[in-house]
């Protein structure tokens, strides 16, 4: 299991702080084991957004954006400052950060 912790401001969105646990190895095909999206965005009803955070468990990172948008429609969420693609962008950034070579300082 790998942990992703990403702070990102996708274009057109509010600042998002995404925390996720994903299956190893961390790639676009990793499954979401847990997901929390914090930030100053709006999602109404708020409880519906929290349900989606839970329901996204088991989805692979590469499909999270589409899955989120579909669930948000089903839950009749009104969103402002957040989107499925923004969450996926954050997760992908987290994967890239995990897989990027560590800088070695002498």
């Amino acid at each position: 299991m790998s942990e992703l912790k990403v702070t990102i401001k996708p274009k057109g969105c509010k600042l998002l702080r995404v925390h996720a646990q994903v299956s190893d190895p961390p790639t676009l095909s990793s499954k979401i084991l847990s997901l929390t999206v914090n930030g100053d965005f709006f999602a109404i009803p708020e409880e519906g957004f929290e349900k989606i955070e839970t329901d996204l468990r088991g989805f692979v990172i590469g499909s999270v954006g589409e899955a989120f948008d579909k669930m948000a429609t089903e839950e009749r969420l009104s969103l402002a400052g957040i989107s499925g693609s923004a969450i996926q962008e954050a997760l992908v950034a987290g994967i890239e950060a995990l897989n990027s070579p560590k800088q070695v300082t002498s």
């Binding site: 702070t7 509010k14 702080r17 929390t36 999206v37 914090n38 930030g39 100053d40 965005f41 709006f42 999602a43 109404i44 009803p45 708020e46 957004f49 009104s78 402002a80 400052g81």
Partner: protein
């Protein structure tokens, strides 16, 4: 067209009670026991309120808040962390089937924020709505607003800045590690304004509240016909304060 509204000025209270009373009012409006309501209130002690989806750990310098004697509370509305000190705070609750209720979030903000904009005009300040949820003068923010929909009601609360205190604010809020405190303070000074800055003098809270009342009345066609808070609402507010907003499980849930 005018709409009968209740107008409340509930004065200073702590953060848990203030948020609890907002919820109690929402319940009363939702059940039809109270008219749609516009409320003005103040915070004592000053407080940080967090948006529904924010984390205390990520946003708040708890040690500084404690040392300063400030409250920390989680709102039922989204949006960002707010330092409630030198400001006028309002809330407005209307049923979703009210003529002033718009279906989309941003349109709804636009309609309700017009009350603030007209109120600022009473004070000689020309402001504009800045989607999603801000009001600006020029390119500087003077008011932030946050909205939710519960129990078939639209509920919005927000603030109008009387003065800007970025140094104090950023001693209480955490600064993203990629930014320096000094840069954040500079950003606030560049991007935020206040009534004191614009008018060149501090105005009394009552003066600003009066202007905003007039602004809401003119912009939304409100006719204030009730000025009373119900006993049941006060009881309910205290229960919300004790069981939800003053409860650490709620505050630290994210």
């Amino acid at each position: 067209m005018s709409y009968q509204f209740r107008l409340l000025q509930t004065g200073y209270a702590d953060a848990s009670f203030n948020m609890g009373l907002d919820m109690a009012i929402l319940d009363a409006v939702a059940s039809g026991q109270s008219l749609p309501t516009l409320r003005f209130y103040e915070w004592s002690p000053p407080a940080i309120s967090l948006g529904y989806f924010q984390s205390v750990e990520e946003e708040v310098n708890l040690e500084a808040c404690k040392a300063n004697g400030d409250d920390v509370v989680r709102r039922v509305t989204g949006g960002g962390a707010v330092f409630h000190d030198a400001e006028v705070t309002y809330s407005i609750g209307i049923p979703e089937d009210h003529p002033l209720a718009a279906a989309s979030i941003i349109e709804s903000y636009r309609i309700l924020c017009q009350g603030i904009i007209d109120g600022l005009r009473v004070l000689g300040i020309e402001a504009q709505f800045a989607p999603i949820n801000d009001i600006v003068v020029g390119n500087k923010k003077i008011s932030g607003n946050a909205q939710t929909r519960r129990k078939h009601c639209i509920f919005q609360h927000g603030t109008v800045l009387l003065a800007v205190k970025p140094e104090l604010m950023f001693s209480l809020l955490k600064v993203p590690k990629e930014k320096s405190r000094g840069k954040m303070i500079e950003d606030i000074k560049a991007g935020v304004t206040s009534i004191e800055t614009l008018k060149g003098q501090a105005l009394r809270i009552e003066t600003v509240q009066d202007a905003l009342q007039q602004g809401f009345a003119s912009a939304l066609g409100l006719e204030y016909v009730d000025y009373n808070i119900r006993t049941q609402e006060m009881k309910s507010a205290k229960e919300y304060a004790a069981n939800q907003f003053g409860n650490s499980e709620w505050t630290y849930r994210r």
